[in-house]
Symmetry: C2
Subunit: 347 residues, 2 copies
Amino acid sequence: MGSEMATVDDVAKAAGVSISTVSYALSGKRAISQETRERVLKAAAELNYQPHASARMLAANRSHILAVTAPLHADTDSTVHMQFAMEVTKEAHSLDYDTLLLVHDDTMQSMRRAAATALADGVIVLDVDAEDPRADLARSLDYPVVFIGIPHDARGLICVDMDFEEAARMSVDRLADAGHTSIGMISHPRLTVQRGSNFPLRFRDAFIARCTERGLEHSVAYPLEHSARESVDELLTALPNMTALVLNTSSDVAADASSALAAHDLTIPHDVSVIAAGAAYPTHRFPVPLDRIPLDAEASCTAAVDLLVAAIDRGEREARTVLIPPEYQDFGSVRAVAVGIEKATQH
Amino acid sequence: MGSEMATVDDVAKAAGVSISTVSYALSGKRAISQETRERVLKAAAELNYQPHASARMLAANRSHILAVTAPLHADTDSTVHMQFAMEVTKEAHSLDYDTLLLVHDDTMQSMRRAAATALADGVIVLDVDAEDPRADLARSLDYPVVFIGIPHDARGLICVDMDFEEAARMSVDRLADAGHTSIGMISHPRLTVQRGSNFPLRFRDAFIARCTERGLEHSVAYPLEHSARESVDELLTALPNMTALVLNTSSDVAADASSALAAHDLTIPHDVSVIAAGAAYPTHRFPVPLDRIPLDAEASCTAAVDLLVAAIDRGEREARTVLIPPEYQDFGSVRAVAVGIEKATQH
DNA sequence: CAGCATCGTCGAAGCGCTTCGATGACGATG
DNA sequence: CATCGTCATCGAAGCGCTTCGACGATGCTG
């Protein structure tokens, strides 16, 4: 076990062939006779040969490492990013890549370093802002980069993200189809939105557009911190007849929604139907479980890593944006409103 | 920016010195005249020279990469591990190391590979079980490994962990000093404990020992899933006079504690004083904020990385266990019991 | 002033691997 | 039977860096 690490030379000697033959037999990059290959494989196995990573990197000019950058905003929910980092790692592993974690204040510099020193073969960018400076960096770098999230100016970039617009439409449609005509929405905490995180805006705009399209009363609130209370108050002022609530917000705020509604003597789903859309956190264990359109880390990360590896291994670098279709999970927090009765009471 | 990457040769030519002089000037491993060094530094800066990572690794036989292994137990709270992974990464960065994320079912193999291919210079092991097979692996490997968590057989290993025993004692003392005489404890979910995670046992045993020592009534419950309800029921059956509760459990269960107590018409801290000990999650935003002895990822990770780097760079490989002293955070969930009155009512 | 450290620099030998071009053996071709 | 293409293998040239030993120059020492 501890015995000195075996090298290609050792394998070559043991198999009675040259070094290059060993290399070709193991990589399959040139034809090698069945017989010789088997001899090499056997020798390699017996010596427990493992190619020296840096030697391989240097010679092949490829590290088989992907870098994952996650900036550390104070307001950012780092557990979400880490979930993404994990999914990236899993998918990368299945494609024979390792992942390097780059979590520094200065993501730009990390990215530049990873590229300049050839430490990593490519980069996955997490937590993308609308005006993310890493977009320009990526364009200038001539180096494979895939964004999970979509910056405002996505020209020339490869991006993957959940289809937040579709998720918003799906939420509105679900509620409208159930007869709701006055829908509130709680967005992400003000700070996140102000910083210019991209997806809250996309979701909100699509929400408003769809409500307008379907002729629904609507209003959007931005919570201040970790509580939903003020937002619910706001919404009920703006929409006294509100019977439905769409949450596209942080875990804290979503968890607080039912008690915030309870403060107004409203219960889910009897008085208010609720959907948590783009939720990275589970909602089925909330005191009142909520219907959910999950932010599916696995789907996004798988797609992103596949694209990145394609860019590295097969040179597929054309810009493109891949949207992951949302999926609706029903936990019973949306209730149909009897339209006739509703109308009757209003008249 | 995009221009072809500069190499030592380029720098050497630009500075009018030999390659080795450049290397020594940059590394400082041999004396170089002030004047020459400045010339080299200037040339390097102008060419934006960044040493090629794999070349450096190969020549120096050191990758400047640390591996972080986090096995993926289904029952495990991966966000906690990821928090640790992040802290490790931050500290590693400050010591000029990068971190590779190894999150596979087969942690053993990952570790072996990292060592055998010299991909990483050392490994940080997270989520350590009492009977963790990685302990034996580490002993057999002659390779720097640091455990965050303490396996049952820690001989020959370098381990870092929070001092759970001390945290348990601290909790008991706090409550006992406040006059409580009947203390319940909710441990980690049954599955975690059964799997042999190490720290729940250490905490529980120290809790029991201290209670016994101070002559306090006590009982321990193991929740089944994510709810505290059954555990609270159990404890109140075992300890009808219970006035204090120590939580050393998962975030879900801890968050549920106040409502589980409320079901018995008990409020915190009026009827029951509560301490969350060894909590990786924040408790001050709970409906009722809880006193907390945090599981301080930063402290453990900093210590662990420092030890690992010492083992790598300075060969300090002697076995040792470093315990991080716990720290008490008061959020008002512990209330003093007037002993005289208590006694009076009992008589 | 011969003898000896010390300092600053250079050249060259690798680190372990990949990969290109060359070579020989062999059967197929005209 | 000379020629050519294929197939399997080998040798050698790097990849970009670190590091060891050597060497001239300089400054001390006795």
